[in-house]
């Protein structure tokens, strides 16, 4: 897998940020300009998180730092959290998904045969995976609730 240095990473984040901004403006009622602060904050969180994953010891993936940073900065009571939350309201979660899935679509073209080969199997497998997580959680919840006398 090709790896990118921090400058390249920043440029990619900015490119995808601009695309999300355009998609966000078309697909939701949020204005172009009012979504800019939120996207800048997201780019900063992503960049810092990726750098932490890269340079901090412990082998913790960057994605864990990125999500954790996002959590901390918006935790009620943390200085600036209200401002960040207000900025975030203007950036739709779904608008951020669209460019990613567009890149994914283009990239999948390369592995079309592999996908076609495992296609129906993956669909059946997905159903079994959904059943697994649902029943697994239901069994535990049932046992604990019963034990606590809440049902």
């Amino acid at each position: 897998m090709k790896t990118y240095n921090m400058l390249e990473t920043l440029i990619i984040l900015v490119i995808v940020g601009i695309m999300s901004l355009i998609g966000n403006t078309i697909g939701s009622k949020n204005g172009f300009v009012e979504a800019i602060p939120g996207l800048l904050i997201l780019i900063a969180i992503a960049l810092v998180g990726i750098a932490m994953g890269k340079y901090l010891p412990g082998g913790i993936p960057g994605v864990a730092y990125v999500v954790t940073l996002g959590c901390i900065l918006t935790y009620p009571g943390v200085p600036g959290a209200d401002f960040i939350n207000a900025c975030m309201k203007k950036v739709g979660f779904l608008a951020l998904c669209t460019p990613i899935l567009a890149y994914a679509g283009v990239s999948i073209g390369k592995d079309l045969d592999a996908f076609a080969h495992s296609g129906w199997r993956i669909v059946v497998l997905s159903c079994v995976i959904f059943v697994g997580t649902y029943l697994g959680s239901a069994v535990i919840a049932q046992v604990i609730l019963k034990y606590l006398g809440q049902i």
Binding site: V63, G70, L101, D111, L125
Partner: protein
Amino acid sequence: MKNFKLHGVVLLLVIIAELIGIHKFQLGVGVVVLLPMLYALIFGIFLAPKFLKVVNKVDMQDAGSLLGITLMLLMARYGTLVGPTLPKIISASPALILQEFGNLGTIFLGVPLAMYFGLKRETIGAAHSIAREPNVALIGERYGLDSAEGRGVMGVYISGTVFGTIFFGLMASMAAAYLPFHPYALAMASGVGSASMMTAAVGSLSAMYPQMSDQLVAFGAASNMLSGLDGLYMAIWVALPLTERMYKHIYKFKYGAYPTGEDAAK
């Protein structure tokens, strides 16, 4: 990174997809939701040399290698969605917290079935979780989304995006009708880290038990917030290592030797 043609093409896909917008329609007992990201994905696939020949091999490779970083922007947003809900999560009941470990149930059913189907490294991506956005980002960072593991997680992610909502709605009604679970337990189980799946499952339960509706919605939403928080950490420290181990042992059982070369853990 400097592939301007690729970025231009993707920008066009985004604009077209967002212009089409969200469409919902009724299918049997559930609602199917079509999102712009789905159109962007499908149109993107059709640009391949096999169909419209808009993109070439280099474009496809560049797109694959960029994916991991593009996902980080979404993950930053994801964190900011979870943050404001943290105080509520912390005060959750023990039943709510412990049922989170039930999400590992996917591994015990998923890994054996995937390997029975003849999938190899795809199994790791496909069966370690229900493959929502954080899991896709994690697999992307660790293995690359253009790897076998990446194909596995993307396959389940796409399946979930397309018919996960309707499947969870149906599954919740069936479980409530035929299995000996209390509706509260089923509502807690509905939170798997996807708001649409949770809403569909809790919606079915509420329709069957209208007098409990408020409580069911509250349990579902709280459990979904919890999964959103712990899903990623659980995947890193519990689910992925467990999946790798099960994969190794089932591999030996099926093929007579521990996995080596391409089939081994990286």
